[in-house]
Symmetry: C2
């Protein structure tokens, strides 16, 4: 797969994930135990009385799985996927045990850097969907991408 | 520790983390192997030639550790820390092995919900700092917080 330099990217380009990842109950609980130990991410009974109504993955788990799907996707910036930050990160719907996630990305903006001519920023919207094509995460991030050396 | 309802929160209130978390090399590599398998998060030698110049934690690892610090902090919304989404998420500086992180949070906005009178949204800025008081993450998130029942 060829690497994408800043010069290769343009608004409107879309990239698809090449894999799906299934989010299993034991991984939901293990992630939560380490990083987000709240009852609705750890225990089925506690979750049934919560806003989620049943055991749900931490949003940060969904974000981390999304990153994995992105690293494995057709979008391969030279220098790797290096995020300067996000303008938006939303979880419209929880991820439940057994959900199978995939990603789609779209380039929104490409800006060469004025101060660092060897690189630029690429604004990318990444949408994470479950097996019913429902959106579970939307992020709009700014990635640092090198320019092609002439 | 008393729980915070929407009615208890107001712009300008600040909350401190009660703990620090040390980010160890083996956890950086394990997180990256599962969620962000890029050379600069997995291998010291590859990282030395990258934009990070040495092994650095995935930004999503920093975000996950921040969540853990927040769950363990003085900020205890009734119903838990439930994020509807983020307006901003930035990593001004990488997290390196051995860094010890802590969080500070500030309430920016409190908005009762018009459609759901039993709850509202609280906009919170959470800053994650390392042992040199350098900022490694800034997030501005919108949390769903219940109102006190009269």
């Amino acid at each position: 797969m060829s690497l994408h330099y800043l010069d290769d990217l343009a608004p409107g380009q879309r990239f698809l994930g090449s894999t799906r990842l299934r989010v299993e109950t034991d991984r939901i609980k293990a992630f939560a135990a380490e990083f987000d130990p709240q009852p609705f991410h750890l225990d089925e009974l506690a979750a049934s009385a919560s806003i989620f109504r049943s055991l749900a993955a931490s949003g940060w788990h969904t974000a981390a799985v999304t990153m994995r799907l992105l690293v494995d996707s057709d979008f391969q910036p030279a220098g790797g996927i290096v995020g300067a930050g996000f303008d938006e990160l939303r979880w419209p719907r929880p991820v439940y045990p057994g959900d199978e996630l995939r990603v789609e990305s779209e380039v929104l903006e490409v800006r060469p850097s004025k101060s660092r001519p060897e690189q630029g920023l690429v604004k990318v919207r990444t949408t994470t969907l479950n097996q019913r094509d429902e959106v579970v995460q939307v992020s709009v991030g700014n990635l640092v991408v090198p320019r092609r050396r002439e």
